[in-house]
């Protein structure tokens, strides 16, 4: 495999397809990331260093690190691609990615931090005194994690295929996956915190600087948007917006029409209804439903992402955790204004991307746009494109690293350290952490190699929907309702989460069956589902965006089953609730730990 990769590299570089600037910037990002990982590997020795960085990270560092981990390939590349492809409707993604944090802050961040545990499974076990429940909760770290790594891997494949023209998509996935896996296996989270924080600033720089240059060359955000006619525009207004000397752009046949693109309820949300042959008026209620379901998935899903919640435990106290969240919201909010601008510019300047699919399609608009500057300002275009490539590397590397740490911790800390061999020594666990990292990394690469035809951003949305139907109800209800029992929590989380997981997988399989490449053949067995979707557009929407029914289903089951099993409410539930809600200054946490450890020892 390595040999073929090398041959491709040699062939690509000899044909002068590689821009040296782009290569240089990307290489620097990768080398710096690895170097920082290795350097800090020396300073992280103990197992708790590995798992949550010794809990001593300052607000500024932690906020940058959370933001760095959160801004994934979906944020950096996927949003721009989706806005270019679908227009207005895609704006819900960046907005809800950023604003979901508010929900986390309002209902979950403070109590969870006060309760104090390494991971969500720790919380699940502690809140219900149930080791069984821990095992159930661990499964979802892996489910959500693998769903979330697929789009990161696609980002890696697309970027490497852009830097090395001719390189097959899967080689890019393999190379990046191997590098990051190695880095995580050797560095642990201490290294990752520092790397994540630095990578936030790389990403911020890489998305904003090219935008400012592009906007100053090609006109402002509003001006570029105004090139798209909307229903309310009177005809003369359009003539005014096209400046003299500027020819009206010609969009390829595959591109959505201006009026559909700029207005709400466009191609993204009407796809299912259109396939069923409904008129635009008939399909509007479907679109509204789609939009609401998407919002629920993204907002609730943010609160249930396993790799984000772990970081709340790295704050020294509850107030610091709240301040961190505030800063995270500002850092990611500012960032999310930029990617849609790439999408808008891409529609006007690079309409040819609409014709292509997979790794050559709109998902690479962020990488491709800055190179246009080369025509006017020569080398500057290459430098800017190099910067966005560096940002893309930072994006998928940081998120993939974070996910890898979470999933590996779940395997090493929970599955191995608590279930398989509770008597294992710290050295054995450290060794196991490394092996688990390799295992999780390999599975991610395999999955990532299969998803080239799917949109990056769409896949991330699915991971959020699964988190919204499993972890969010668990956390929300456990924190605010005393009547919850372990059985209620487990039933709700499992049913809601698995329903969302299966419907997302079903939609992906049917989409992959439509692919003309090798994946189409592999998933050909699922092509029958597409006929079903055409006949039942409502079911298609509910399967594609399951949050609107799976979140209430999950919460409803929790309430019903908990009421039925009221006898099994933990006896010290009042004390647990006090620990979750009382200010830390009262010192109830220490008291709780003492009491809890008393009978056991």
């Amino acid at each position: 495999m390595n040999l073929t990769a090398l041959q491709f590299l040699a062939a690509a570089s000899s044909s002068k397809g590689i821009d040296p600037w782009i290569l240089a910037f990307s290489a620097i990002t990768v080398v710096v990331t690895i170097w920082m990982g290795f350097r800090s590997a020396k300073s992280s020795k103990s197992a708790s260093d590995f798992f949550v960085a010794g809990r001593s990270v300052s607000v500024g560092w932690n906020a940058s690190a959370i933001s760095g981990e959160y801004l994934s390939a979906a944020s950096f590349m996927g949003i721009a691609g989706m806005v270019m492809l679908s227009g207005y409707d895609a704006l819900w993604y960046p907005v809800c990615y950023a604003c979901g944090y508010l929900f986390l802050l309002l209902f979950i961040a403070g109590p969870l931090r006060r309760f104090g545990a390494y991971t969500i499974p720790d919380f699940a076990e502690g809140r219900y005194d149930s080791p069984v429940f821990r095992k159930i909760a661990v499964c979802f770290v892996l489910f959500i994690g693998f769903f979330y790594t697929m789009p990161q891997m696609k980002g890696a494949g697309v970027t490497l295929a852009y830097i090395f023209p001719g390189l097959p998509y899967w080689v890019g996935v393999l190379v990046v996956g191997a590098v990051i896996t190695l880095n995580v296996a050797l560095g642990g989270m201490k290294g990752i915190t520092l790397v994540q924080a630095v990578q936030y600033w790389i990403k911020m720089f890489a998305i904003s600087v090219p935008i400012f240059v592009l906007l100053s060359v090609y006109g402002g955000y509003g001006k570029n948007l105004s090139l798209n006619k909307s229903i309310s525009d009177s005809p003369p207004a359009i003539v005014q917006t096209v400046e003299p000397g500027q020819t009206e752009r010609v969009l390829p046949a595959k591109a959505p029409k201006d009026e559909d693109w700029i207005a709400p309820f466009g191609p993204l949300t009407t796809k299912a209804a259109k396939a069923a042959g409904l008129t635009p008026e008939e399909s509007k209620p479907y679109s509204l439903l789609y939009t609401f379901s998407l919002i629920v998935a993204l907002v609730c899903g943010t609160a249930g992402l396993p790799h984000i919640l772990v970081r709340f435990y790295t704050n020294p106290d509850g107030i610091a955790a709240k301040k961190t969240t505030m800063w995270v919201m500002i850092l990611i909010g500012v960032f999310y204004v930029f990617p849609p601008v790439f999408g808008v510019l891409g529609r006007n300047l690079l309409p040819e991307l609409y014709e292509a699919t997979g790794s050559k399609g709109p998902d690479k608009v962020v990488l491709e746009l800055p190179i246009l500057i080369r025509e006017k300002y020569g080398i500057l275009g290459s430098i800017l494109s190099g910067i966005t490539c560096a940002g893309a590397f930072a994006a998928f590397m940081s998120t993939f690293s974070g996910l890898l740490v979470s999933m590996t911790s779940a395997l090493a800390h929970d599955v191995y350290g608590r279930m398989i061999r509770p008597q294992s020594s710290p050295e054995e666990r450290m060794k196991m952490f490394k092996w688990c990292a390799v295992l999780v990394g390999s599975v991610s690469v395999l999955l990532g190699a299969m998803v080239e035809p799917l949109e990056i951003n769409f896949m991330v949305g699915q991971a959020f929907a699964i988190a919204a139907a499993s972890y969010f109800p668990l956390l929300f209800m456990s924190v605010w309702w005393r009547g919850m029992t372990m059985k209620g929590a487990a039933t709700g989380m499992l049913t809601g989460g698995l329903c969302a997981l299966f419907s997302a997988a079903l939609v992906n399989a049917s989409t992959l069956a439509l692919d003309k490449g090798p994946m189409g053949k592999l998933f050909a067995g699922f092509s029958g589902i597409n006929d079903f979707w055409v006949a039942h557009p409502l079911l298609r929407i509910l399967a594609e965006q399951p949050a609107i029914w799976s979140v209430p289903l999950s919460i409803g089951l929790m309430i019903v089953v908990s009421n039925a099993t009221r006898k099994t409410i933990p006896v010290d539930v009042r004390m647990k609730m006090l620990v979750l809600h009382a200010p830390e200054a009262l010192g109830l946490k220490q008291e709780y730990i003492q009491e809890h450890q008393g009978p056991a020892h």
Partner: protein, 106 residues
């Protein structure tokens, strides 16, 4: 459970304290969440009910694009900021209440 240093009859372990604590916190969180949800679900509804109004041009943007693509973020920051100051104040007040309550009860 029989640790002699902690008696569970004092005020901070009482039902009264916990109930008030959770109520006040939930009230604050729900108030902030409502402000957020009104815009979050109101905007698609406005797009649905008043498409002409939402498509009005504001400096090249359509009104709805301007709200969703730019103005939404500062709106959420304001809510977050308010919540954080209020909840820190709330925590300090709770510590006070606990201290006074413990004095009252022997």
């Amino acid at each position: 459970m029989s640790d002699p240093t902690h008696d569970h009859t004092d005020f901070i372990h009482s039902e009264e304290f916990l109930h008030g604590l959770m109520r006040r916190q939930l009230k604050l969180s729900i108030a902030c969440a409502t402000a957020f949800i009104v815009l979050l679900f109101g905007l698609p509804l406005m797009n649905y009910l008043a498409p002409e109004l939402m498509a009005r041009r504001v400096g090249g943007f359509t009104l709805t694009w301007l709200i969703l693509g730019v103005l939404f973020f500062p709106y959420v920051w304001v809510i977050a900021r308010l919540f954080i100051t209020r909840s820190i104040a709330l925590e300090n007040a709770e510590v006070q209440v606990a201290a006074e309550g413990n004095k009252r009860k022997p």
